[in-house]
């Protein structure tokens, strides 16, 4: 009996510890975000560092994002045709492709790709710098590692992802146009015309951009925080990199649900 009580107590202690640990990490991450924002003045005063990180986070993610966008747009058009043709409404394909991309798929899939392509790289880089005590060496030389290493990477992510999401949607719509109009043979004027009649630039396009900015802040913060917080061993860096990708994906999908509920409630 006594052993059973201890077992139950231990079980609850485990839950309590996990909860406290999670909240503590969240608190650390929030304070880290504030520290990054406080240190980012020097980032914009020395744009050279930011441009280098923009190259690594943004330019090197271009190929995967553009190719995925093109193919997802083409697949959307093919599958959409399958359903729309039953109702004789194939002209609505432009609306289908554009709305799904601009509202949801553009920000979400670009965010997921960005987290796995650039976020993991940022975590691994910062984590390895910590493991090899480069960050500690900077502090010894009175160089703030948050300002020198973390802030440029954070801002590069925040700037890159909205641009990548817009490019993703654009290429996706072009892919939908290629399949819908050039391959299947829907009327091109109806494709663009119905799209323009249905897509509102503020309600759909601007909300999509706001989504991608929110995801950009979330993914960039997770990437730099996991790197900075990594256990300074080879194993710790690899675990942190995995955590970046997993947490980013979950956070993007959860945030997407919350944002969609607030932004597009009227149209559900």
């Amino acid at each position: 009996m006594n052993g059973f009580v201890t077992g139950v107590a231990n079980w609850f202690i485990g839950i309590g510890e996990a909860t406290r640990g999670g909240i503590t990490r969240l608190g650390f991450a929030t304070r880290f975000l504030l520290a990054v924002i406080r240190a980012s003045g020097s980032t914009f005063l020395r744009p050279r560092l930011l441009i280098k990180e923009l190259y690594h986070a943004g330019v090197l993610s271009l190929i995967i994002v553009l190719m995925s966008g093109l193919f997802i747009g083409m697949v959307l058009a093919l599958q959409g045709y399958e359903t729309l043709v039953r109702f004789g409404a194939t002209e609505a394909m432009g609306v289908l492709v554009a709305l799904s991309l601009v509202r949801e798929l553009g920000p979400v899939v670009a965010g997921l790709l960005f987290a796995s392509r650039a976020g993991s790289a940022i975590t691994a880089e910062i984590g390895l710098m910590k493991t090899t005590e480069q960050l500690a060496a900077m502090e010894v030389m009175a160089v703030d590692p948050v300002a020198r290493v973390v802030a440029p990477r954070f801002w590069a992510g925040v700037i890159s992802l909205p641009l990548l999401a817009a490019l993703f949607s654009t290429l996706g719509i072009y892919g939908g146009y290629l399949v819908g109009v050039k391959l299947i043979g829907i009327d091109g004027g109806a494709f663009w015309g119905q799209m323009q009649a249905a897509v509102d630039w503020r309600y759909d396009v601007l909300n999509g951009v706001i989504k991608s900015i929110v995801f950009a802040v979330a993914v960039s913060l997770i990437a730099v925080f996991e790197g900075y917080d990594a256990t300074p061993t080879a194993e710790g860096v690899s675990a942190a990199t995995t955590r970046t990708v997993v947490t980013s994906a979950l956070v993007i999908l959860a945030l997407d649900f919350v944002l969609t509920v607030f932004m597009f409630r009227g149209s559900i």
């Binding site: 943004g58 004789g88 194939t90 490019l167 719509i173 004027g189 109806a190 015309g193 009649a197």
Partner: protein, 171 residues
């Protein structure tokens, strides 16, 4: 990596990213109406009711696309819809052409069909098509059908088993 090369790539990335944002806002979201270059002529036609006709809908003659709907306005005096149609210049139509609004499929988009008449004088730029036929509204057809059913029901004539529908709308 050379400094200038990095700058170049980042510049290209930011530029095409911003261009994509503009594309989404302008071309997809239709922030401004993009005008395509003019190559042809424009005619106007009045309709009592245009149904769901939209700007940029196709204009067809014998099923072949010959132009686009340019603009739709309501005439504030006659309360008719004035539709401005852009036609390609190699398609000439006689003056007594009839414009009709059709629907492609049951729920599909609507388009303007042109039926050529026998006049030897052709339509010129900025001229009016005199004869038109409005869009068929399914709601009106259904209500008319139900009304007829109700009438035949109240006259004591046998309602052919459609009596339940008639009973529902009887005044």
């Amino acid at each position: 990596m050379n400094k200038r090369t990095v700058d170049l790539w980042v510049g290209i990335f930011v530029a095409i990213g911003i261009a994509a944002l503009f594309f989404l806002a302008l071309k997809v979201g239709n922030l401004l109406n993009f005008k395509e270059e003019k190559n042809g002529y424009e005619v106007m036609v009045r309709f009592d009711n245009i149904g769901n006709l939209k700007a940029r809908a196709p204009v067809k003659s014998a099923g072949v696309v010959v132009g686009r709907v340019e603009r739709i306005r309501l005439d504030p005096k006659t309360y008719e819809a004035t539709v401005r149609i852009h036609l390609e210049k190699n398609f000439q139509f006689p003056k007594d052409t009839i414009a009709t609004i059709f629907t492609s499929g049951l729920l599909g988009e609507q388009f303007v069909g042109l039926e050529a008449g026998g006049d030897s004088v052709m339509l010129q730029d900025e001229e009016w098509i005199k004869k038109s036929q409005s869009a068929i509204q399914i709601e009106k057809l259904i209500s008319q059908f139900l009304f007829n059913q109700a009438q035949s029901g109240s006259n004591g004539a046998p309602a052919n088993g459609n009596a339940p529908a008639a009973a529902g709308v009887k005044p």
